[in-house]
Amino acid sequence: MESFLQIVFSGLTLGAMYALSAVGLTLLWGVVGMLNMSQGVMLAIGGYASYSAITYLGLPWPFGLPAAILGGFVTGVVFYYVIVRWMYRSPTFEVGIIIATVGAAIVLESLMIRIFSGYPLDQPFSLPGGFRIGGILLPYQTLVNLFIAGLMTVGLGWVLRRTRFGRAIRATAQHRDAAQLLGVPVAKIYLQVMVMAGIIAAISGVMLTASVANLSPYVGTNPMLKAFFICAIAGLGNIPAAVGASLVLALLEGAIQYSVGGSYGFPAMLALAILVLIWRPYGLFGERTVERS
């Protein structure tokens, strides 16, 4: 029983982390058709923005989150004007953007190492303590992270399904030219989506570093890699499925780590992702989209 609770709690903590990383990733894929290899760095930017506001500017701790949101906003705008703006019309956007965001990730990562050094730091914006159930600790921060991931999913779902803005986004995602002809300001939509993704990544970054991970320029790399495969299993672009898959796979990873050995969790997940992709090329819940030509 104790070991079962241990697996469930650590699985929930990990699952919340993966879910937070997966939301922004799958949003960008679903709407812009962009596999964002800079997601990990964008997470780190949020963490550092919160850290700097509290530590260097001496603001009280609740200001960490607004600072991260500001950081994410700036990141999104910069990504749009430096990269996406020039590329989204290209017929080879899907591949080109992967290469470009890999380049951007390397640039930003080295810049962060230059500015903050590579040493792991503690995120001051965090909720210490936790419940004790059956002798096993369930940190409050895990619950906060789960709540935020759920909130993002529901919120994004509402924005995308129910608002005018969301309709414009979905129209752009479905057929850019038709949307433009019907008066949707496509360029502006791309900018807004990039900003949304930047902010989501930044908030996720704060929550991520407040939980088990220490703040470092590489903090997002591992969650990003795992989020990639979670999204691939769930089907890129489907936000609720990505969050659900994060939790299920994290629990599975925890169970495998406990029963087989610590180092087999990630390989097992990857092997599962590879098998799922071979079996269902668009993921379990992904929609088979018609390619733009």
Binding site: I99, V102, G103, L225, F228, P267, L270, I274, L277, I278
Partner: protein, 356 residues
């Protein structure tokens, strides 16, 4: 209007592509052969050997990535399969590295073909994810290998070498035949031979019927298939073909440095090679080679500012992928055909709103 005087440019433009390749290849080959006679310092030779290894990989990768247009990121995994197979066979069976290198190359062909088969139903970003997954799984499995396979005294050695990598599996034996001084030179020419054979191999494929099939599938999959081109067959084929020399370069790498480790699967290594391909020109026969040379020169220049190295590399990659999609080869071709105004034309072209 035909002018009587045929300019050098017209002369070259009238050549068949394969003949032009011969001249370009000879040009590079003469420089590469002559280089050690001009400067045979150890540092230069070692750098150029590394350049040859990178160029060998990127040339083969270009076949999948550029010519066939399949976004595979498993190239370094295939490279490591070749290197590890050769190293492990030599270490555990005591066979000569010359022999195991060939076995390593065939193993790489086999694994690469399997990766190609696994990605048949996938497109674009999903291919990238799956192949990246293969590379990451391989690295994690090697890094976390902690079971003792054999002991030397009390020291425990893992089957795959673990995070330390494999060593003491021997080398190509140049040092015993030729002595310390000449051995580096011998390895230099061996690496050059590897690159030359690999390049000729790729050129034959690109200019031959396979090349047409690969490009047809890349440019219009549906149309190509309706013309009777079997996608399954050609996708597995392109992965298998590019696997041979990639695996062989891996084995050469292992023999040259006398060690091979999981660090070769690190992401920055992949980025370096990707940048080389993008800067040179995706899908262009001579793109990878030019990209390698250019990036090694830039990298050497940036070494003075070591901390800015990755910033520079990333920025150059973004610059090329956004503004010069055809790479340096495309730029040279444009200037060759239309003069220096081409640069301004292409920039103006970028600022014009384009139909999507």
């Amino acid at each position: 209007m035909y002018s009587r005087v045929i300019s050098f440019r017209d002369h070259v433009n009238r050549m068949a592509p394969s003949r032009r390749d011969v001249w370009i290849g000879l040009f590079f080959l003469v420089i590469a052969i002559a280089l050690p006679f001009i400067d045979n310092s150890r540092s230069l030779l070692s750098t150029v050997i590394l350049l040859f290894i990178w160029a060998s990989i990127v040339t083969q990768w270009n076949l999948i990535f550029g010519v066939a247009g399949i976004f595979s990121l498993a190239q370094m995994a295939v490279f490591c399969i070749g290197g590890y197979t050769a190293a492990m066979l030599s270490l555990y069976f005591g066979w000569s590295l010359w022999f195991t290198s060939i076995l390593g190359a065939f193993m790489a062909v086999f694994v690469s073909a399997i990766i190609g088969a696994a990605t048949i139903r996938l497109r674009g970003a999903y291919v990238a994810l799956l192949t990246l997954g293969v590379a990451v799984v391989m690295q994690v499995m090697i890094m976390s290998d902690s079971n003792c396979f054999y002991y030397e005294g009390v020291t425990c050695y893992n089957f795959t070498g673990g995070p330390r990598g494999l060593s003491s599996f021997g080398d190509f034996g140049f040092r015993d035949w030729l002595g310390y001084k000449v051995s580096l030179l011998a390895k230099y020419y061996l690496a050059l031979l590897l690159l030359v054979l690999g390049t000729i191999f790729v050129l034959f494929i690109i200019r031959g019927p396979f090349g047409y099939a690969f490009r047809a599938l890349r440019d219009n999959d549906t149309n190509a298939r309706s013309q009777g081109i079997n996608r399954v067959k050609y996708q597995i084929l392109v992965f298998a073909l590019s696997g041979f020399f990639t695996g062989l370069s891996g084995a050469f790498y292992a023999g040259h440095y006398k060690t091979i480790g999981p660090t070769m699967l690190d992401f920055p290594v992949l980025l370096l090679l990707l940048a080389m391909m993008v800067i040179g020109g995706l899908g262009r026969p001579w793109g990878p080679l030019l990209g390698c040379i250019l990036l090694m020169v830039i990298d050497d220049f940036l070494k003075i500012y070591a901390e800015w190295r990755y910033v520079g590399m990333g920025a150059i990659t973004i610059f090329f992928i956004i503004l010069l999609r055809q790479g340096v080869v495309g730029l040279i071709e444009g200037i060759w055909n239309r003069g220096p105004e081409f640069v301004f034309e292409s920039v103006r072209h970028w600022n014009r709103p384009r139909p999507s």
